[in-house]
């Protein structure tokens, strides 16, 4: 079971080579197939996630949640997706059409790119990048541009306010986000995510870096625009923020991208802090899925419990609390490493 997907991929390549294909071509086709699989999994996974979030929020709120389509309403999201696909696509006449139309595509592309570096199991990742963590952080911050494009292109005050807020928010939370991961990098001495996972065979980094875990979690919530930091959307204040003018599938793409981001960030958290794919008995790819879902559930829990924070509090929280705390964590980690070496433990 452990090497199920790797064996499958090898069998597939071998089969293509036997058919007379040049090995280089076979590799490229395999990459394409991998991408198709990744995108399919992302989409299907998100359909399940949306359903799950609705069910879980219903549980928190003592409601039933979706319960009409299929067992436990599991096909509700499918029906919603079909509805969104068939909806009229409205582009406001005053909008900057090119920017307006490209923004959702840009957003989803950026979100999908995040999956390239995440180790989905032992020796299982799309690219084994030696700067994987850096890649993840930098690509993740690109989604700010997509939101700004959406807000600017819509030519609507609400959208613009949402976009400006999201830029301010994401740029400020980028810093504690990166800083909190720095502690882990200092310990492992590598930006490669496989190395980081390998370094956690004794202790998960949530034990060694608890402060970093908390700051990363908070900063990641802000990066994901999820409650209580869902400023850019803020349905009740900005009537949907940057997404106000979007309809149908364009809107759905934003929605999809947000969940894609959520899964990616949760997977990264599982990788960096929760031991990644390591775990007893079960195959590694199952472990990472379980851990990712566990993190996602915590995100849901936070979102459905807290009210939305105010914009100025949000900014001051980042600069006055999270940045100093994550910097302090770096100092502490450095001191810890020095102490450890001095004692000769490592």
């Amino acid at each position: 079971m452990e090497a199920l997907f790797i064996n499958l991929a090898e069998a597939f390549t071998g089969w293509m080579i036997r058919l007379g294909l040049n090995p280089a071509w076979a590799e490229s086709i395999l990459l394409l197939v991998k991408w198709i699989i990744v995108i399919t999994i992302i989409t299907v996974n998100i359909i399940i996630l949306i359903w799950l979030e609705r069910k879980i929020s219903a549980f928190f709120q003592e409601r039933l949640g979706p319960n009409r389509l299929g067992p436990f309403g599991i096909f509700q999201t499918v029906a919603d997706a079909i509805k969104l696909l068939t909806k009229e696509d409205i582009v406001p006449s005053a909008a900057d059409k090119l920017i307006f139309k490209t923004a959702p595509m840009f957003f989803i592309v950026v979100a999908v790119m995040l999956y390239t570096v995440i180790p989905m199991g032992k020796d299982m990742e799309v690219i084994n990048l030696n700067i994987g963590l850096l890649f993840f952080i930098s690509v993740g911050s690109l989604s700010t541009i997509a939101l700004l494009m959406a807000g600017w292109g819509s030519n609507n005050k609400w959208s613009l306010m949402g976009a400006v807020r999201s830029v301010a928010q994401m740029v400020s939370y980028e810093i504690p986000l990166a800083f909190s991961l720095l502690g882990v990098v200092m310990i492992t001495g590598s930006l490669n995510l496989q190395d980081i996972v390998a370094a956690q065979d004794k202790w998960w980094f949530i034990v060694l870096q608890p402060i970093a875990f908390i700051t990363y979690f908070i900063a990641a919530t802000a990066e994901l625009n999820r409650g209580p930091f869902d400023m850019p959307e803020a349905e009740q204040e900005l009537t949907g923020g940057a997404y106000t003018e979007y309809t149908g599938m364009r809107w759905a793409l934003f929605f999809l991208a947000e969940y894609t981001n959520l899964v990616a960030v949760s997977a990264l958290m599982a990788t960096v802090f929760l031991g990644g794919w390591q775990g007893p008995w079960l195959p590694s790819w199952l472990w990472i899925i379980i851990k990712t879902y566990a993190v996602i559930l915590v995100f849901f829990w936070v979102k459905w419990t807290f009210p939305r924070i105010r914009m100025d509090h949000l900014m001051s929280f980042s600069w006055k609390v999270l940045v100093p705390v994550s910097l302090g964590n770096i100092l502490l980690t450095g001191a810890g490493i020095y102490f450890c070496r001095w004692m000769g433990w490592c």
Binding site: G227, P228, D230, Q236, T239, R308
Partner: protein
């Protein structure tokens, strides 16, 4: 220095947080509110003109539609005003039923206020908590009036019908659960750090300003003034009940929020006492089919509605229809203070302030 332009943002009339058709024009300098202009009238139904064409009894259902979230309170106010005009004595049992229904309406209205504040501030779960508990009150209304939202159960001279057998157990169990409900609201929202940060010091309404602007109800009491018509000018049989007035200290949004939660508990106390003391007997006074108050007679009757001082000014010309009927709507007058408390805050405070002022547009636009 950077130069900035003043710009306007139209919050409403179609906006998720404007509680109906409220249109708030915010004049902003960046995120700071320079001024707020309130535009009303999106739900105007000319209730006062309609009243001139209806008989006194026919107008009862229209009053239920003023404050549709606390439906029994405006009906109670109107019926008592007409009774005052005609000198009708209401039977004891009806008075007690009215008090129970009125306080249930007040609880329902405050629960909506709590829910709405929750959703406006992004605490979606808060919305559902309030709605869930309000559902039980709606069921009780259905038992009595046959209708959930706008039951028009209170009539001139008493109530429409006697309460059914299952009414008292249902109300009793509800009253027992009220402390638990309040604990939940406080636990989920009031105790939350983010919640407190968003509300504390936001939209401070000084007591003098509140009186000058005619603000009444929980909003006035949140500013620290113990003025409740149930105590100041007891109407009906309110002088028989023992209850406290929850007061605020700072007059900010958090106080307005907290006062509403605490008032739920006090209403529960009143209901408890009313249930104990309710006698058997008639539920409706002998009221003639056609009501004709003496010509030239007029009355101004005010009650403590869930939103504040709800007054009815009725002038009679001796016919079966009121010559002039004016509703002093608390939401209308409380909204006047919105620009005052919003100025200088940030954009998101508008939403908080609207939510904690708790206007109801059906009443303010009439």
């Amino acid at each position: 220095m950077l130069e900035t332009d003043i710009y306007t943002v139209n919050v409403g009339p179609i906006h998720p947080s404007t509680h109906g058709g409220l249109h708030v024009e915010a004049i902003m300098d960046g995120e700071i509110i320079q001024d707020v202009v309130v535009h009303l009238g999106y739900v105007h139904r000319s209730v006062e003109k309609i009243a001139e064409g209806k008989t006194y009894q026919q107008f009862v259902p229209y009053t239920a539609r003023l404050d549709y979230l606390a439906t029994n309170l405006p009906v109670l106010g109107y019926c008592q005003a007409v009774e005052k005009l005609l000198g009708i004595e209401v039977p004891e049992r009806a008075e007690y039923i009215r008090v129970i229904m009125a306080e249930l309406s007040r609880i329902a209205s405050h629960q909506i206020a709590i829910s709405a504040t929750g959703i406006d501030l992004g605490a979606t779960t808060g919305l559902m908590y309030g709605m869930r508990d309000r559902e039980r009150i709606m069921n009780i209304f259905e038992m009595t009036g046959g209708q959930r939202l706008l039951s028009s159960y209170i009539r001139i001279g008493g109530v429409a019908a006697d309460i059914p057998d299952e009414f008292i157990p249902a109300v009793k169990s509800l009253v027992q659960d009220i402390p638990r409900m309040m604990e939940e609201y406080n636990g989920l929202m009031t105790g939350n750090e983010i919640w407190a940060a968003r509300m504390e010091g936001v939209g401070i309404l000084a007591p003098e300003t509140a009186i000058q602007y005619g603000v009444t109800g929980p909003n006035l009491r949140a500013s620290g003034i113990a003025y409740d018509l149930r105590k100041a000018e007891p109407y009906g049989i309110y002088d028989r009940f023992d209850f406290d007035l929850p007061l605020g200290k700072r007059g900010d949004s958090l106080d307005r929020w907290q006062v509403r939660i605490d008032e739920i508990g006090q209403s529960g106390r009143i209901i408890e006492q009313a249930l104990k003391a309710m006698p058997e007997g008639e539920i409706k006074a002998k009221v003639p089919k056609v009501l004709k108050p003496a010509a030239g007679k007029e009355v101004y009757h005010r009650i403590e509605s869930a939103k504040g001082e709800l007054g009815y000014y009725i002038v009679s010309d001796g016919s079966s229809k009121p010559y002039r009927l004016h509703v002093r709507a608390p939401s209308f007058i409380n909204l006047m203070v919105l620009p005052v408390i919003c100025r200088g805050g940030v954009f998101q405070d508008i939403i908080t302030n609207i939510a904690t002022l708790d206007p109801i547009l059906g009443e303010s636009d009439r």
